[in-house]
């Protein structure tokens, strides 16, 4: 067994060394790395992300590649585990010699990988939500998708328009729900909203009627906000109607998928949530600067993957194209030059809105990245 292992590792080493000295390296591909959560609890994020990356890498290569070279994408599955994500990040940098990295399906895996890329000066475009990834700003780390703070701001803004100020919150105790709950608690005063009552539910709970009947008792509550991801939002919505609650129900962008409407059924009608323009691509006015990008991505993805687009795949689309754009402008595969160009990105239109990076802002998007959506007759509609 041991002998076999030694034999194998030596074989790999020899192959590796040969590959390095071979004259073909002059025409080597541009290697981009990705670590995604294809299995485990965050699998529903990673799967559309990987499909998107594969579809777009093929498209870019078919159109002649970047700087005359083909893109080679190396993807690893972290199984939704932060420690594995870090192991693969190290492998991508040390063994696969990637020039840059797009990925990190969840905030936890992105945070675990980020020190590796900072140390090795590898540009990293994270496609997960947490604001802590780019706050404080790290030199080699960028992250275009919306943050949970922005989701809270967007919801509170809409509540104020409807003269709602006193609300209850029912959050999931998973990482996503907890992070958004903390963000909303921190932001409520500045938005003029008061969260008067809090309840929580576990990520695998099948019934939240006890928590909802506690909220129903409180007559002063004008609306309920329920941050969460996975099956939670669908169960909350169904139970909300079941116990006969009539105040407006707001969910988080964690429920901004077509799957959510299918799971919640008729109970979803009337629900509002901050979501990406992608979900309402067709009904955006033609004057909307985002319409072209989101419609194109939607058509490309749905034709190739034969399934509806999700916001998460959109993040992967944005991350990859942002990186490719920066490599083109850098005119080289030098990691530092690519990093500098990502930071100089201005007016780059993506599925999360216009991206404007700067040395002090590695998020690059504004609140307009979120649209307030409402579900009517089982379809997404713009509520604004």
């Amino acid at each position: 067994m041991k002998l076999l292992k030694i034999a194998l590792t030596s074989a790999v080493r020899i192959a590796f060394v040969t590959a390095c000295v071979s004259p073909l390296t002059a025409l080597a591909d541009i290697t981009i790395g990705s670590v995604l959560s294809l299995t485990g609890p965050a699998g529903f994020l990673g799967v559309p992300e990987k499909r998107t990356l594969d579809i777009y890498v093929d498209r870019i290569n078919a159109a002649g590649g970047v700087l005359g070279q083909k893109i080679k994408l190396i993807t690893y599955d972290d199984g939704s585990k932060a420690d594995q994500a870090r192991t693969y990040a190290t492998r991508l940098v040390e063994d696969d010699r990637v020039v840059a990295m797009v990925g990190g399906s969840a905030t936890g895996t992105s945070m675990a990988m980020l020190p590796v890329f900072e140390e090795t000066k590898t540009p990293f475009i994270s496609i997960s939500g947490g604001a802590q990834i780019i706050d404080p700003v790290r030199k080699y780390v960028f992250k275009p998708p919306q943050t949970d703070i922005m989701a809270c701001q967007k919801v509170f803004e809409d509540m104020r328009k409807r003269n709602i100020t006193r609300i209850a919150m029912l959050y999931g105790t998973d990482g996503f729900g907890m992070a958004m709950r903390n963000a909303c608690l921190a932001w409520q005063e500045r938005s003029g909203i008061k969260i008067e009552h809090e309840e929580s539910y576990g990520p695998s709970d099948a019934d939240v009627t006890p928590q909802l009947s506690n909220i129903r008792k409180l007559t002063s509550i004008q609306a309920v906000l329920s941050p969460g991801i996975g099956q939670g939002p669908a169960i909350v919505t169904r139970n909300f109607r079941q116990v006969g609650m009539t105040v407006p129900l707001y969910l988080s962008h964690g429920a901004a998928t077509n799957g959510f409407i299918g799971l919640a059924g008729a109970a979803a009608n009337g629900v509002r949530l901050p979501g990406p323009a992608l979900l309402v691509a067709e009904s955006l006015p033609d004057s909307d600067p985002q319409k072209k990008v989101v419609l194109e991505y939607k058509n490309v993805y749905e034709a190739a993957a034969k399934e509806p687009v999700s916001a998460f795949g959109g993040y992967a689309h944005d991350g990859l194209l942002l990186l490719v754009d920066a490599i083109r402008r850098a005119g080289s595969t030098d990691r530092d030059k690519i990093r500098d160009e990502i930071e100089k990105t201005r007016g780059f239109m993506s599925t999360v809105g216009e991206i404007n990076m700067s040395p002090t802002d590695h998020l690059g998007i504004t609140l307009s990245a979120f649209r307030m959506l409402e579900i009517k007759d089982g379809k997404w509609h713009l509520a604004e």
């Binding site: 299995t39 609890p41 699998g43 529903f44 799967v47 105790t173 309840e199 929580s200 539910y201 576990g202 695998s204 709970d205 099948a206 019934d207 939240v208 009627t209 006890p210 928590q211 009947s213 506690n214 008792k217 996975g230 099956q231 669908a234 169960i235 079941q242 116990v243 006969g244 799957g259 299918g262 799971l263 059924g265």
Partner: protein, 290 residues
């Protein structure tokens, strides 16, 4: 008052499902001393297969029957391909085999049936009851009725049929049962089949309420095992009492305290019961078995 009733409805519904999982544990444990950690996967398969069949265009009753039949077959195969070949391996090895089997079943289900979350419509279009402002959905009512029916049928089977009595005999003394001419391997296979069927029915009943996905079984296996231990591992009646107690404890803690402490409270009660009554709420004292 309304809230208290609502908490109780919620607790009884979930408790009934936990009880079904616990009964599955107990049946197999009694006949073979194996704690079958793949029990939760039977519940997952019941729901996921039915969802898949409905998706393929089968009418709901037919999809449910097909799902129960297929899950039962998986239960039988688990015994024939994994447990029986292990022969006289120690109980710990057998338990580890069931853990392996559960990971295998989950993985295959994830690949074949998809990794998404799935739902099934309520079996009845009727909204359900509204008692003093607390709502009991029609599906929750079905869960309670279905669980009671299964329990009664199981009791009848064990106490009134020859095959059922063979199971009871094997459970109380395997060697004695063998000497009396009972094929114990047939009895154990039967227990896997019945446990799988009960798990599948539980999965069918709960899917319209709690949704389902390929990795839904592991959490339920832990809950069902807790319920079985709480009631006294080895006692079918204890499994029901344990399941309902666990469900009610969870719902009351979620309602009166916070759902953050729900699991902690359930486990504290479990520990307290095991310290004060080492054989569980309804368990026989182990002296009897010697």
């Amino acid at each position: 008052m309304t809230s208290a009733i609502q908490f109780t409805f919620s607790g009884l519904t979930m408790g009934a499902i936990y009880a079904l999982v616990a009964i599955g544990f107990v049946l197999i444990y009694n006949a073979s001393s194996v704690v079958n950690f793949a029990q939760g996967e039977f519940v997952m398969l019941g729901g996921m297969l039915a969802v898949t069949f409905v998706g393929l265009g089968l009418p709901l009753p037919l999809a449910c029957l097909a799902s129960i039949a297929l899950t039962t077959l998986v239960g039988l195969l688990l015994y024939l391909l994994a447990i029986r070949p292990a022969g006289d391996a120690s109980v710990v090895s057998l338990i580890i085999i069931t853990i392996g089997a559960s990971i295998f079943i989950r993985g295959v289900a994830g690949v074949l049936l998809g990794k998404g979350i799935h739902q099934m419509p309520d079996f009845l279009t009727w909204q359900g009851l509204n008692i003093a402002g607390a709502s009991l959905g029609s599906q929750s009512l079905l869960v309670l009725i279905g669980t009671s029916a299964i329990v009664l049928a199981l009791w009848f089977f064990l106490a009134r049929t020859l095959l059922g009595k063979a199971i009871v005999a094997t459970a109380s003394d395997r060697l004695g049962a063998q000497l009396a001419g009972i094929s114990t391997s047939l009895v154990i296979a039967l227990c896997f089949v019945v446990s799988a069927a009960i798990g599948a029915i539980g999965g069918l009943l709960i899917t319209p309420i709690g949704l389902t996905s390929y990795d839904f079984g592991a959490a339920l296996a832990v809950k069902g095992f807790t319920a079985a231990v709480l009631g006294g591992l080895g006692n079918p009646l204890g499994a029901i009492v344990g399941g309902l107690t666990l469900g009610l404890l969870e719902a009351w803690s979620a309602g009166y305290i916070s759902s953050l402490y729900k699991d902690a409270i359930a486990f504290i009660v479990l520990l307290a019961v095991l310290v004060l009554m080492p054989n569980g709420l309804m368990g026989r004292s182990s002296v009897e078995r010697v």
